[in-house]
């Protein structure tokens, strides 16, 4: 038995696996309420999912290599899914990717907006405290 084959061992709630309770919750959300999933079935799903991650990660890594990139990016993951027969997953995954990029953009816009005002951090904190105080007073006035 090779020592580097730990990942094909039994499901444990350790670092090389996925959290059992979370996965069980996911399964229950996907099924009608009268369907129950046995723990053994859930564990096999977890093991399968872990193998799935290894498969896609390995392929994504190769694709990144081919493009002489040092980091596995979203595009590599999407290409890997297509390459390995999971094209049906791509639309969903691309949607998630798009939303993530939009969130990043909004986050960057917000932080650059504050920077653009040229106000120092101490001054910003002071202004924030002022606003808190004002709303505190308003709250107390009505209660």
């Amino acid at each position: 038995m090779s020592s580097d084959n730990e990942r094909s061992g039994p499901t444990g709630d350790d670092e090389l696996s996925l959290p059992k309770a979370t996965v069980m919750k996911l399964i229950n959300e996907m099924m009608p309420s009268d369907i129950v999933c046995s723990k053994e079935a859930r564990d096999l799903l977890i093991d399968s999912c872990v193998e799935f991650i290894h498969l896609i990660a390995s392929e994504s890594n190769e694709i990144a290599d081919r493009e002489t990139k040092k980091t596995i990016a979203g595009e590599h993951v999407i290409s890997a899914l297509k390459e390995l027969g999971f094209e049906d997953y791509v639309e969903d995954v691309e949607e998630v990717y798009k939303e993530h990029r939009q969130q990043q953009k909004d986050r960057d816009k917000r932080s650059s907006r504050l920077e653009k005002t040229g106000i120092s951090e101490e001054e910003l904190l002071r202004q924030q405290e002022l606003l808190f105080e004002q709303s505190r007073l308003k709250f107390e006035a009505h209660h």
Partner: protein, 137 residues
């Protein structure tokens, strides 16, 4: 997602006397609808990103991982679990069971083309003895 499964269950009960109503095309249509209409929440992912990243890094070949990669993996994993679970459900229904057994999952896997990579963790014996024994590993 809860809305999606309720719809399927409703359709199923109507066709109960014929055969299981699992429709792969419908499954993907529903997934698309859910993705398009539901408001995704990125601050809470069902599957923990740190864990996914750790699993990825078990492979010594895997180098640096971008911030978005685990997020995409989380979605792909959810979809993967959803597909295998629903395929298992078909078999449970055929045996008139309300409980998903390990053999149902194994059967679903053996019938899925792109799941050849799972051949090592799902001994074929499990799938064929579905009606008899529950294997525990």
């Amino acid at each position: 997602m809860a809305g999606t499964t309720t719809t399927n269950a409703g359709a199923h009960h109507q066709q109960h006397h014929n055969r299981p109503s699992f429709d792969l095309t419908q499954f993907w249509q529903d997934e698309m609808t859910t993705t398009q209409t539901s408001v995704p929440n990125f601050r809470t992912h069902p599957l923990p990103l740190a864990r996914i990243k750790k699993v990825m890094k078990t492979d010594p070949e895997v180098k640096m991982i971008s911030a978005e990669a685990p997020i995409l993996f989380a979605k792909a994993c959810e979809t993967f679990i959803a597909e295998l679970t629903k395929r298992a459900w078909v078999h449970a229904e055929e045996s008139k069971r309300r409980t998903l057994l390990r053999s149902d999952i194994a059967m679903g896997i053996s019938k899925t083309d792109m799941c050849d990579f799972l051949i090592d963790i799902v001994p074929r014996m499990e799938a064929t003895d579905a009606s008899k024994v529950e294997f525990h590993f």
